[in-house]
């Protein structure tokens, strides 16, 4: 048993680390570190830097730009990015639409869509959830009716992350309402967001931020060439995508960065003339999160090691990483909010020129925002159901 990376893995890590230190623009790094809003341009700028380096899509087949890294290298890369504080790579094109096209797409679909995804020329979003169908995805109602060379789409999607930035959306739609098994009436469509009949309505979250949307489809005409896989086989595609989840679900690198920041920040905070980190009540909360994060990192590596050796894709393991990872993220944002004390309360100055500690004021909104992590991408309750069924046989 050896918990350390091998010499080659360490060399790879150092290469990534060194490259990030040289190539991650300081302004982007600071924006990420200070939890500032990232614009579409910020996101694409980093995307393109990575694309230029050839590292934007490590998991893709080599002929389309993949790096050929193994799972451990990919994990190291993602964790290093997280720890360095890069903007996130928006997954909808790179890590969701693209794998689907690699597996199920026609040559024409691949040629048309993969290069702009790789290069960051076109922005994608995901059309899965609907108002009545969240955890129970197969109950979706958005309809696509064949009309000559087109599908005519009517319905509504919700929680469409960055839909207001997107050029394209991939959607699960119902093409057969009569199918006995409701999963069998679902198809997977690629839709150009500029098609007439599409309306994007912002859903403002409680931190005041605009990241998710409702997307309405009213007689939207989609060429049949944008059907992926066969009609009625959309559920197969969706399941493939779920199984394709990445192993950095725990987001250990990001949490390590946040922990480091929390400890440094709290150490400078004054409580009764002493550092807040010397207050055992506060300190123990930080320590327990730190211990949990140390454990999660090792758990993550254990699963990765097993995956590398057995070649098996991660199963319910990913659910565990998601549960623990999100709980840790929430604890960290909560403690950060406590650390700043009442200065966490101010939200926005009423006069634009009033002096204002924007970083302190970002912590409560961030705490609010991070509540989403245990809800999205399969709520932690759904993750527990998955483990219960798949791993425990209950």
């Amino acid at each position: 048993m050896d918990l350390s990376y091998s010499g080659e893995e360490l060399a790879f890590r150092d290469e990534v680390r060194g490259w990030l230190a040289a190539n991650l623009p300081a302004d982007l790094r600071d924006k990420v570190g200070d939890h500032e809003h990232l614009s579409k341009e910020d996101l694409l700028r980093w995307h393109r830097i990575l694309a230029k380096q050839g590292w934007v899509a490590p998991a893709w087949p080599k002929e389309w730009g993949g790096t050929g890294w193994n799972v451990v290298q990919r994990y190291i890369f993602e964790e290093e990015c997280g720890y360095a504080g890069t903007p996130p790579l928006v997954p909808f094109g790179l890590a969701m639409c693209a794998p689907v096209l690699h597996k199920f797409g026609t040559e024409a679909q691949k040629k048309r869509h993969l290069p702009p995804i790789y290069n960051g020329d076109l922005f994608w979003c995901q059309g899965y959830s609907e108002p009545g169908s969240g955890s129970d995805l197969a109950s979706l109602k958005t309809k696509a009716v064949r009309d000559g060379d087109h599908y005519v789409v009517n319905g509504q999607k919700i929680w469409t992350t960055l839909g207001h930035y997107a050029d394209w959306i991939f959607c699960l739609v119902r093409t057969d309402s009569t199918a006995a098994i409701r999963q069998e009436g679902i198809s997977f469509l690629l839709i150009d967001m500029k098609t007439p009949g599409i309306t994007v309505r912002p859903l403002i979250l409680m931190d005041g931020g605009h990241e998710v949307n409702e997307v309405f489809f009213e007689n939207v005409r989609v060429p049949v060439e944008n059907l992926v896989h066969e009609e009625g086989k959309g559920w197969t595609v969706a399941k493939y995508l779920l199984g394709h989840e990445r192993m950095n679900t725990g987001r250990v690198g990001i949490s390590k960065r946040e922990l480091t920041k929390l400890k440094a920040f709290a150490a400078r905070q004054n409580k009764d003339g002493k550092s807040l980190m010397d207050d055992p009540r506060f300190r123990d909360k930080v320590s327990r999160v730190e211990v949990e994060l140390m454990a999660l990192e090792i758990t993550n590596l254990r699963f990765l090691d097993q995956m590398r050796r057995t070649g098996q894709p991660p199963g319910a393991d990913v659910s565990m990483l998601k549960i623990k990872g999100t709980e840790i993220q929430q604890s960290l944002t909560e403690l950060m909010m406590y650390a700043v004390g009442p200065q966490a309360q101010p939200f926005k100055p009423l006069q634009a020129d009033d002096g204002f500690d924007a970083f302190a004021a970002s912590l409560a909104p961030r705490y609010c925002n991070t509540r989403k992590t245990t809800i999205y991408a399969g709520s932690n309750e759904i993750q527990r159901n998955i483990i219960s069924k798949m791993s425990l046989g209950l």
Binding site: S135, M206, N270, D272, P342, A344, T374
Partner: protein
Amino acid sequence: MNFDYNEEQQLLADSIKRFIDKDYDFETRKYVASAEGYSAEVWGTLAEMGLLGLPFSPDYEGFGGGAVDLMSVMECMGAGLVVEPYLPTVTAAQFVARAGSEAQKKAILPAVASGELKDGLRADRSRGALRPRARRGRGEESGAGWTLDGVKQVVIGAPQADQLVVSARTSNDGDRGISLFLVDARAAGVSMKAYRTIDELRAADVGFKGVQLGADALIGKPGEGLAHIEAVVDFATALLCAEAVGAIKYANDATLEYIKTRKQFGVPIGAFQALQHRMVDMVISWEQARSMACMACARVDSEKDAGERKRLISAAKIRIADACRHVSQEAIQLHGGMGMTEEMKVSHTFRRLTMIAQQFGDADHHLERFAALDKVA
């Protein structure tokens, strides 16, 4: 032993509840919060209903009410997420009512009761707790009066206040060096950096630069401010506990309603046992919190021993803070994505509960005070 409100308290509770249901629904509240952060019309109604003068003596156009009488009011304010600076005003006026001169009482209390005047409670809540021993404000005797210098941070309600009650160190005599002053919010040398808080109240960092105060600005005797501050903040904490109970009740009711109606896999999600048990724990949290709010409101006025009063208020605030955190987090989780949105009231209740948990000292602060005041055999 009697846990019911008396007839007057019940009538008051009913009328404020009616007012909030009818005239302060979520849409109205949203508008008030986004515009001025305060509605003159609502303020007038609160005055008309007698809420603003409730805790003052009838000599000053009040109703002689105590924390118990205010409890139902605060529960309703919590449920309705009222953004008007009711608690800051009532609390700040307590300094005048308890320690002010006859002239101050006459000048201030009836005007507050009638709704003409809004007081802002000074707060210096560095490290999540009011730390009366480390005032940065500084009063110096200048001739017949005082000069006030310093900054107070995160003063809730300050942007709307007409008068400010300000604590300031007037000598280096430790606990006996803090005095209280009544300061006109528009006086020369007073500046405000105002902002919106995460729970949509208005607050400001208030600066005092060579503010000239007359001798009559002093509330009580010089250097004797601390005991008043502790007593009034305990009073305010009891009311805050009641507000929390109302907000928790709303969060629970909304969540229960949501899990009964939201369907997934063909059944309401409330049919899933894991959610049922968590909902039950939220309700238990509320019952326990409500018990402590009752205790706090019943004892904060009647308990004569200051140490015991502080111990009891800390006990209440510990339980309330824990319940705020527990229920607010669970309410959002059980609401799923919808609870995260600005358009659902529960997301606003979440924010208010998050802040109440820390206001007037978080659980850690009160655990420390509770332990220090507890007599162990």
